[in-house]
Symmetry: C2
Amino acid sequence: MTKEIALLNHLWTDIYYQLRYIHQEKITHQSVRILQVIQKEEEAGIKEVAEAIQVSHNTASEHIKRLIEKKYVFKTRSSKDERKVILRLSDLGIDVLYRHSSLDEDKLRQVLFERMSDEERQRILEAFTLLKERAKDVHDL
Amino acid sequence: MTKEIALLNHLWTDIYYQLRYIHQEKITHQSVRILQVIQKEEEAGIKEVAEAIQVSHNTASEHIKRLIEKKYVFKTRSSKDERKVILRLSDLGIDVLYRHSSLDEDKLRQVLFERMSDEERQRILEAFTLLKERAKDVHDL
DNA sequence: GTGTTTGTATCGTATTATAAGATATATTCC
DNA sequence: GGAATATATCTTATAATACGATACAAACAC
């Protein structure tokens, strides 16, 4: 059981190391994490970001200010509660996050379409779909 | 073709967001990248690290100094060329990198062993093995 | 409607990270 | 022995990170 888990993790990190984007703008760890939270969570505001990256609300507010300066993020307000900020990624922000968490499209193209049969590619996509499906709502600890 | 690539990337980031480790020590972006280089490359020294993260050799040297202070990394010297440093991850460094790039073992355990049949798990592992195999030596641009 | 809570923003301050030029040293190559 | 190579250190500069204190407006409580 531990063997399969270790194997999958080894494959996971090897694949990412091989296929990730190389030429990336300078960006901090916290910035990437915040962009991820905004993209993956529905209606994230300052408070949600602060909880997600485990910093105080004022620190989170500062982070967001910098991300807005860089045009990665913009603010809207909730219509239900005018105090609440709703954060959204700009096109640039989506792009930057993509290049810091996704696999390089050119490399994927080579792997999936030049080095695989249609049937092999299909098997890969089905396996990832299955894993994503079963990973939904896994609980922490 | 673009559709399959976008789909795979979407699945990739969703799976990582769901299954990654949450409780992590503070560590910078550059530190993670350096630890990855040391782990995945054979016999990385200061020069290799500098090239990999695209900074000057003196900056790379400073980074390594800090990583050694934190006991994530230690130095040996090449026996062939005594000028050359060979960097290695300590057990702590391996552990820290693991928690910043791998999938959470407890979560994987739930997904692979409580929510999948033997046959499904087998299909996942085979798909990842295939993808890793074909990803080998993909060239940049 | 006044007081409290909630969500966010800003100011001040401190520490750490990041980066590179200048310079130094040890080893290897020729 | 001199040049090239690999690394280390010192200095200096800027940006990132973090939080306490404070402020304020919207929402809620009664």
